[in-house]
């Protein structure tokens, strides 16, 4: 799975893009965020409040219960502020 981080999520995690092998039991966005939180203190802090992050799966906006699978491109970012 390819995971991308943007804006303060990129800064807090220290990662902009990575390829990871996620455990088979991770089946949805919430499961993925829970798994990422366990990695280290930076991830735990960045993902402490799911309400403050948005997720896209294969470049489509996703919800916490949206499915994720190996091979997906998942992006994690704050609410958008363009325009």
């Amino acid at each position: 799975m390819k995971i991308l981080y943007f804006a303060w999520l990129r800064q807090k995690t220290g990662i902009d893009s990575e390829d990871v092998d996620v455990p088979a039991e991770v089946g949805d966005v919430a499961g993925l965020l829970d798994w990422l939180k366990q990695r280290n203190a930076n991830f735990a802090e960045a993902l402490s409040d799911f309400e403050s992050v948005r997720v896209a799966v294969n470049q489509e906006f996703a919800e916490l219960d949206s499915p994720v699978a190996a091979g997906d491109e998942v992006a994690i970012f704050p609410p958008m502020t363009g325009g």
Binding site: F6, A56, M80
Partner: protein, 158 residues
């Protein structure tokens, strides 16, 4: 329908000229230009850096334009959005809509910028003398502005 995502500045006149040239069905064009604002005061803005999600940005802007085309009878539409480091007074975004009649163009232009703000994956980092760099937080007023178009669509569907 045109979408451009670029770091370089754009020429508003040339972009709008391209949108209407040789299309005599166009009776009106409405455009909006967003600029980097410095509200002044003690915490003067030095720069604003726009980050985006290459690939998804272009896809979302194309979807937003397609939605505008579905809702209004348009002759054309345009979104040009910059990324990278910008300074106060710099242009950030240009949206425009053309139609046979002005009302569709006015409404579609407002819709394009309102939806873009909440649906296009851009993030603004502000740098100021006093507080350093900070990420701009999404505004609930932007969500409300976008939601009014959802409400108007439901009303139209009744």
């Amino acid at each position: 329908m045109t979408v451009k995502v670029q770091s370089e500045d754009f020429d508003v006149g040339a972009e709008l000229e391209r949108l209407t040239r040789d299309n005599h069905n166009v009776g009106g064009m409405v455009s909006f230009v967003g600029l980097v604002r410095d509200l002044g005061g003690e915490d003067a803005l030095k720069a604003m850096t726009l980050e985006h999600y290459p690939g998804m940005t272009e896809k979302m802007l194309a979807e937003i334009e397609a939605e505008a085309q579905a809702r209004w009878s348009l002759e054309g539409s345009l979104i040009v959005h910059r990324y990278g480091r910008l300074e106060p007074g710099d242009r950030i975004v240009l949206v425009a809509a053309t139609s046979a009649h002005r009302q569709a163009a006015f409404e579609a232009c407002a819709f394009l910028i309102d939806w873009l703000k909440t649906k296009a994956p851009f993030w603004k980092l502000e740098e100021s003398e006093a507080t350093g760099a900070r990420w701009v937080e999404a505004k609930s007023s932007d969500d409300l502005a976008a939601a009014r178009w959802r409400a108007s669509q439901e009303k139209a569907a009744e």
